[in-house]
Symmetry: C2
Subunit: 565 residues, 2 copies
Amino acid sequence: MPPPLWADNTDGAGQLVHDAEFYVLKAQHGERWAVEDAGLQAKLAELKEKHGTPPNLIHIMWDDTAYGDMGIPAIQKIRGFDTPNINQMAQEGILFTRMYTEVGCTPSRAAAATGRMAVRNGMYNIGMLLESHGLDDEEVTIAEVLSEAGYATAFHGKWHLGDIEESYPHNQGFDEAFFTGYNQILSLNSDVAEQGNASLGLVEDLFPKDPFMLDDTFITKDWVQIAEGTKGGETLQWRDNSYETYEAIDPEAQKRTLEFITRNAEAGKPFYVANWPMMSTFLPTRPKNCSVARAMLQDGLQCNVDVFVGKLMDHLEELGIAENTLVIAMADNGPMSHNPPPGTGFAETIFRGGKGDFLEGGVRVPAFAWWPGMVDAGQVQGDMIHITDLFTTFASLGGAMDNIPTDRVIDGLDQTALLLNGETHGRRDYQFTYAGPRLGAVIKGNYKRHMISPDPVGEASGIPAAFYFLPTDPREVLPMMTPMIHMKRPFNRMVLRHELWKKKYPDSQEKHGIPWTGVANASDAVKAHAQPQMVLKDLPFDPLEYIEHLDQIPFDRNMDPSLGQ
Amino acid sequence: MPPPLWADNTDGAGQLVHDAEFYVLKAQHGERWAVEDAGLQAKLAELKEKHGTPPNLIHIMWDDTAYGDMGIPAIQKIRGFDTPNINQMAQEGILFTRMYTEVGCTPSRAAAATGRMAVRNGMYNIGMLLESHGLDDEEVTIAEVLSEAGYATAFHGKWHLGDIEESYPHNQGFDEAFFTGYNQILSLNSDVAEQGNASLGLVEDLFPKDPFMLDDTFITKDWVQIAEGTKGGETLQWRDNSYETYEAIDPEAQKRTLEFITRNAEAGKPFYVANWPMMSTFLPTRPKNCSVARAMLQDGLQCNVDVFVGKLMDHLEELGIAENTLVIAMADNGPMSHNPPPGTGFAETIFRGGKGDFLEGGVRVPAFAWWPGMVDAGQVQGDMIHITDLFTTFASLGGAMDNIPTDRVIDGLDQTALLLNGETHGRRDYQFTYAGPRLGAVIKGNYKRHMISPDPVGEASGIPAAFYFLPTDPREVLPMMTPMIHMKRPFNRMVLRHELWKKKYPDSQEKHGIPWTGVANASDAVKAHAQPQMVLKDLPFDPLEYIEHLDQIPFDRNMDPSLGQ
């Protein structure tokens, strides 16, 4: 297929480049949107006049929760827990019924940070311990975009966007950062893990020495559990890798977030803060069970995340800035229903699938917006919104659209109209959902097509029958061909335009490197990751060369993309 | 096993007999309950003093709806429809999160009518066309119980409790009845059915004659689609069996219900009315599509059932009797997710399974209570309640407990405290769910055990691993044995007591007979069902004898119990 001849009709220089599908909508609604946008700008100017700054922006994002497990008491009663503060947030603002994320933690976080789907920014792999991989410094984050517009920016909590130095959040535009490179599996580095939930590699030192072990380099020796840093300043490991330190991460992150807010509110400076909690540990925590469900997920949501959200809302009101602050609270992907630690409470609710799946259950999450006076209370919105839209909407609200690069596709659409004008004012009716680097499913309105089919015959012949109508089949168990035969052409067209657009704006590749360089107080074992030659000096190859080739690990259609988070 | 020696300690003569499990609870809570009941009686006496009559009772029950598909806007948005009136009812009253029914239409309706599980009243078979089977006149219905206490009683809509004369609702205690003996499949008796959704037997006359047909008696010739009658009066078929008549059933039933209410409100007579709508047809009804989902279920709920519920609430308020009227609105079982007609919109939501299954999805339904001034608004109740509890609770509210027979097990518990005192005041923590005549599952609090296991090895060895903890596993996909090993003994004990109690109070058998006798204006073809000898006079056997043996149709573990509704 020859490269397409795309007219450069994306409104010329300085205009954002979106997915090809956006322009199909813009051609139909552009004039109406321009009028609506003028009204929104007037409303925001009035707010700025009143408060002296553009609005503050807070993004709370926790792990692995099924739609309905938050914000809907009639589901939570079934699931054995309660989150009164988040439910209040939903009642006083928006409950999104179609907030889509990427399929896993790393991809979703990268999408939120850059406004670009993980397949575009090279972060589609889910980071595990010492992944030697992270967010490319060529990516432009929301922190960079807003910093340039005068915002104070902070990141506190589970970053999970890599262990290479350029990926650290304070190297990606945040004024201050307190961050983990990885996920909650770190919590298994504990003698408590011996209770039966152990990750053997992590607790190797706690076990009797294996007398048959020949290779002392295979087992992971040390890493950085949690680090801190400031823009342009040094990076420091915070405390040690113990379970006690793990448990201190969320309280410390929450304290820092509230202090950051106070400091900037008092200084009259607009701010953006992302607090992405660890939420829970992967260990049984019986003494702290707080929910009827007596499970990790429910306990973490009820007695950690929800309590913090309550404190946060109170704090904003006490500081008198609630009416000038947008809070978005959401999960980063569906429940860890595949390969969960035992007894953790993860479960599908309405949708089929969970983390790692391109089914609705993997990517359709509980999500809420709260902004007293600006966002109407009691909204249950049916419009589609994608996690990348937060990037662009934050930039729009912060008057920072000009700081977004126009040399690449920004998937995020400006959804200010949806927030401020309510249901049916959304700008999105499509979504491409990738499973790792492969396109897994395409959604257009209520129609969905699976691009990876469990039926190899159908797929091979080019006519997979996997068309779905979501309202009547939210679990995607009734693939249809006959009643949706007319859907093949428009879906084909949509996918091909999406692919052709990539010829002009190609996806970025993964960025690899030595993990945890530039940490001033790193242990000798962490520092040794950069000098393995010292240990294995007699090798016939460069022991670090493999790092350059990490993206060549074969992704197979039968590989379970849900591993890790 | 010898018959058990049960002490006759059910509080002596005149006391209801409940399942054995109830007495385990009563022994622990009886004194508290007695105090609470005295308070409730005082409250009800005060209400009666004010209004002059005990409360009116209205039971609305529609078909086959998944938990969450009604009353929860954040789920309905996903499912492409809206029911503002029922949602208002939920907000102004109780949304039950654990209303359990029987597994199918006929069993659930029989349970509601008699306060007894279908396995006890012989109605566990789901009635199909000319079933020759129906509710035994030995059963005592809520209409009989309340009539005797001075209530006016009416039934309007889908009865589905048989086609034998004794089963007609006006022969079962209702003052007036307008009723179908069967289900919505009747709607396929139409030339419209040729559009592709046809039940071949029903439209036989509409097709060209089959030149190879030898047996003229096999195909169903005629039946009674909808009939009416009054207590002690004659029974009449209403109009004909056409599709037009089918579509007139719900409007007519709704009109009769509202008129019945007006008449009794004006006469100052307390009343009980069951309006169980047909809801929809099984035909595609494109011209009437009203929901975003464009499907039968959603259309029927949004534009028929919900509209009627709105009219009903308005009507009660206009008549000034809303504060003296309890309205219960609910589904009769889970969604028809097995063997549905195409494009109908039935789907699982949170729970796995649908109609016919002993999984939560089969028996845990949307249900609401509304009683302004008596039932507090905005309740999302976590207590268990079973459809049979409505029988006993209605009798209790109507001052008619003494009219309930004490020679049989009444599964229904008096849940007045749950209605009037709110969450945690329920009297039930157990449920036995039968699949046809077999015990399928047992629930105790949040614990559930499947008694019919898909794993024949486990079942045969007496240790099926099918123990579930519902909050963390609402879809029942993670059977546990190790963490729930301590559950085998208490479940065994509970099941055995339930079975042993049946030695003293045995289950009733199915009641069979000639269908549609006693219908004054029946067609000759309907009347001929009683005289098949006239047609087949040369047979070597009595052609009606098989009717006596209908309950000997073998029920196999592999038989799909979801067929029909």
